[in-house]
Amino acid sequence: MSQDAIHPETDVETAGSPEEDVMVEVRNLKTYYGGDKPGPFGGRPVRAVDGVTFDIRRGETLGLVGESGCGKTTLGRTLIQLENATDGTIRFDGTDITTLNGYELKQWRRNAQMVFQDPDSSLNDRMTVGEIVREPLDVHEWGTPRERRQRVRDLLDTVGLQREHYYRYPHQFSGGQRQRIGIARTLALEPEFIVLDEPVSALDVSVQAEVINLLEELQDDFGLTYLFIAHDLSVVRHICDRVAVMYLGNIMELGPTEELFSDPANPYTHSLLSAIPEPDPTSDAERITLHGTPPNPRYPPDGCPFSTRCPARIRPPGYDDLDDEVWQAITTLEEILRERMRADRSIKDRVRGMLGLETRYSTIDEIYDEAFGDVRVPSRIEPTLDDVAEHVSANNESDALEVLKEEFSGACQKQKPEYYTVSNSGRRSYCHRHDPEYRSPEQTLDDRHR
């Protein structure tokens, strides 16, 4: 396995041969919510997409997986310009679409469309199916009105509905049929690129397969390029050519589907895949359970985005032999302190704290109780914890965190990792552990979890 460092900003060629027909080039794309306004109403932005770089090749299906809230829908919406990118470029056949506006943007929109997640909410219930599917044609003044009606009927045919459904209302259809109507609307302008935002997750399992098959057929018939956003990994494995794994606004790993599923490189991909139930009862693979919740995207970690929960986190040299439980407790402690630091303290709280009265903030004893519980704390780390306790008692969480970081941080928390190419197919993974200096994620996970 080759492990060559690749710098995302400088050398961005991700995969394989240069003659690959790249349709969409995304470079260091960032989409932040809020915080763009200076002044009292501004604030820290939510970093929904925090610098992603990848290509989508013509005719392929790129999967985008991740937990809810990891920014995958935002990324999809940014790609079709429903959200404005904060930074970075999206080149669509060489044109940077983040700079388009007015007439050019409207014309470009014909090329890129989206299938929405919830068929109940994506169709206007007060319009007939015909009107819904015809609307994009009307907007772009496609042909004559008669030709438009004809095309709508053809489209209904294409997506497996009946031509007579033109005058029905969405109410009269099931979820799967409604999603077909949405797909017909998406196809109306003959786009080349379609973002599928969890197109089947709101449907019955029995209908999911039908819609997936329809999407595959349409891709073959019309030469479509898909970005398939999903959290159902088995569907992704079925339909996608390549998969990007997203966590907290970053792409953790990107590579060909089969390879990524059978031999994941990134610790996050490992944990995500281990969540798929194993049909083999004799399998001895132990599940990797992630502790805690993803960090607040308003305050992402300084180092690797996954460092707060990573099961293969690089530990500082002196503490390599500490128990997993202790590490878990320290991470919890850090999290609590960070939350406390961000909480706005009202004047009343401050006064009560100064007078030694009870506030709605827990004391350090309670915090330790919550974090450590009945974990046996090794005597080595006790001085550090006492230090932390002192700072917290003085309501000085940032100093406390500084102490913790100084003592217990490894490379993962200190600096952002780089993208490493981890296989001959050009698969990339965003993890410090691919650096030859450290043990690989596989080995580490094997050690710690098996």
Partner: protein, 567 residues
């Protein structure tokens, strides 16, 4: 159905041609109904023409005013130039609307080679040019005179038609006559007593009005059952729910009765408004005096003897001493109260519809814009509406009224202050209406179909109209029906205070004010009857609004809300 082109794509005309019978039956019935009241409809058409003329005059007048002002301040020859420029500018503004209404693109039709990016602009220029050409043709060439002649011919035709007898006219069923010395009546319908003749006319009016409305409903049903392509539409559920809502139907009946009162006021009163309200001394009445002789004198003179002011009294459902039928008695001036109330309904309805229509329309438009763009626009609207709402309502109305009246603004003279009152009420009611639909608007603006519309480049104005307004308009209709009742009360309350509508324009509230000192006397009816009518009308509007809310319950129709899942 086959996949054949023509089979697939049938226009309404094709569908009617296939099965003409139901449409023919309906149209025949409709034609009969129209013919029965041709005179009144011709009258209405003339009035519409007058309003349209006023609109054109306003456009030309504005341009003339600006041109004249510039001409007088700068240099004389500049005046006509500025006049022409302003006119073209106004026409250009109209061109945008017209372009979006015509089904084809002029540029495409003319085969002009224009890049797509400019096409909309070129379209507008073309439409403006066409409008300007037409205007010039009308103003500068003999064509204008020819059109004038044509218009005059149409007007005279309408005039002639409006003189035709109609089934609900006073002339067909007269009730104003006098007793004959030998017994019996002269001048009334079939020689019946004035009371019976009047009652027949009232029945005919209401019968006709309800028949007409029923026929419209039949027309809708005919269309739905025979010619609509969709076999089900969301509105079907609404009408079905409304059908099973007796409380709302009762409200609707009261509302219709009120509207009919306003529309057919001239036919409903036992005397005409001229005789009763405006010129009682110019119109005469013939009656049989105590000596058995026919005598004629002015209404005004007779009214002095027929006052209901506690001392003398003409109560409800009685004749006065001059054999004039007074269904609701007379008022303290001796005038017929019923006629006063019928015309008063007209005043209330005009003010109510104008004020509600303006405030609801503005609130809806504003809600669309604020919900779609949010942020700063919304904040400004919140501050604006809060500022208006923070001023005590009556105080604000009084203030505006006095300011306009003291300044002697021309608007005060329109409808004896009624139009001004309507505008003031519209100004004070829009914040409440906007507030009440702000929530639903913001909610609907989050629907995914709005994102879908954005994703294929739909214009914001169309998105608001097609994808947001239909969901919010339900709320505004409901609130507007409630506000309409409130406005009727408010108008009456202001007239009661001596503000609002000046005499002689009739207004219900003023009659309550006039009659309130006689409540404890035998002339109790002067204040009581208008009071009861107000209660009925407002209750009717509220009941109807209630039924609309139940029938159009949005929660039952709209699926779950919320933006995209995931991130």
């Amino acid at each position: 159905m086959s996949t054949n082109d023509t089979e697939d794509d049938r226009t309404l005309r094709d569908r009617v041609a296939e099965n003409p019978r139901p449409a023919a039956v309906w149209l025949a019935g409709f034609a009969v109904l129209i013919l029965l009241e041709l005179g009144r409809f011709a009258d209405g058409a003339t009035n519409l023409g007058i309003i349209a003329e006023l609109g054109v005059a306003a456009v030309v007048g504005t341009a003339k005013l600006i041109g004249g002002n510039v001409g007088s301040t700068v240099a004389d020859p500049l005046g006509p130039v500025v006049f022409a420029l302003t006119l073209v500018l106004i026409l250009a503004g109209l061109a945008g609307i017209i372009r979006s209404l015509i089904p084809f693109s002029p540029t495409k039709t003319l085969d002009l080679d224009v890049p797509d990016a400019r096409r909309v602009l070129v379209d507008r220029v073309l439409v403006t040019a066409a409008l300007a050409g037409l205007t010039a043709l009308l103003m500068l060439t003999p064509v204008g005179d020819a059109v004038d002649t044509g218009v005059a011919a149409i007007i005279s035709g309408l005039d002639a038609a409006s003189n035709l007898p109609t089934i609900t006219s006073r002339e067909l069923i007269p009730n104003q006559g006098h007793r004959l010395p030998e017994g019996g009546w002269e001048g009334t319908f079939l020689g019946l007593s004035p009371a019976v003749a009047w009652f027949i006319r009232v029945c005919v009016v209401y019968g006709y009005a309800f028949l007409l409305l029923y026929w419209f409903w039949r027309g809708y049903l005919t269309y739905r059952d025979h010619y609509r392509e969709a076999d089900w539409a969301p509105i079907d559920d609404t009408t079905n729910r409304l059908r099973g809502h007796p409380w709302g139907q009762a409200g609707l009946v009261i509302v219709i009765m009120f509207v009919v009162m306003a529309v057919w006021a001239p036919a409903l009163g036992p005397v005409t408004a001229e005789e009763n309200l405006y010129q009682p001394y110019q119109n005469e009445h013939t009656y049989l005096n105590d000596n058995g002789e026919l005598e004629t004198s002015a209404h005004g003179t007779l009214n002095i003897q027929t006052r209901s002011n506690g001392d003398s009294n003409v109560g409800p459902f009685s004749y006065d001493q001059y054999d004039r039928w007074a269904p609701f008695g007379t008022n303290s001036d001796g005038k017929d109260l019923f006629t006063f109330l019928m015309y008063g309904a007209r005043t209330s309805l005009v003010i109510g519809l104008l004020a509600t229509g303006l405030s609801a329309g503005f609130a809806l438009a504003l809600a669309m814009v604020t919900a779609y763009y949010r942020g700063l626009v919304d904040l400004v609207a919140v501050i604006g509406s809060d500022s208006i709402q923070s001023v005590p309502f009556i105080l604000l109305v009084l203030l505006l009224f006095v300011v306009f009246r003291e300044a002697d603004h021309p608007i005060v003279s329109l409808y004896d202050g009624g139009i001004l009152l309507a505008l003031i009420l519209a100004f004070t009611y829009w914040p409440a209406l906007w507030r009440s639909i702000r929530g639903p608007s913001l909610q609907i603006a989050q629907a995914e179909w709005i994102d879908a519309a954005k994703s294929f480049g739909q214009r914001p104005s169309v998105t608001m109209r097609k994808h947001m307004a239909p969901y919010v308009v339900i709320y505004i209709i409901i609130y507007a029906s409630l506000v309409l009742g409130t406005i009727v009360i408010t108008t009456a309350a202001l007239s009661f205070l001596g503000l609002g509508i000046n005499p002689p324009t009739p207004e219900w509230g003023r009659m309550i004010a006039e009659g309130r000192s006689f409540i404890s006397t035998k002339s109790w009816h002067v204040a009581t009857i208008p009071g009861i009518l107000i209660v009925f009308v407002v209750t009717g509007f509220n009941a109807f609004g209630d039924a609309l809310r139940d029938a159009m319950d949005v929660q039952a129709d709209v699926g779950g809300e919320g933006g995209g899942g995931g991130a």
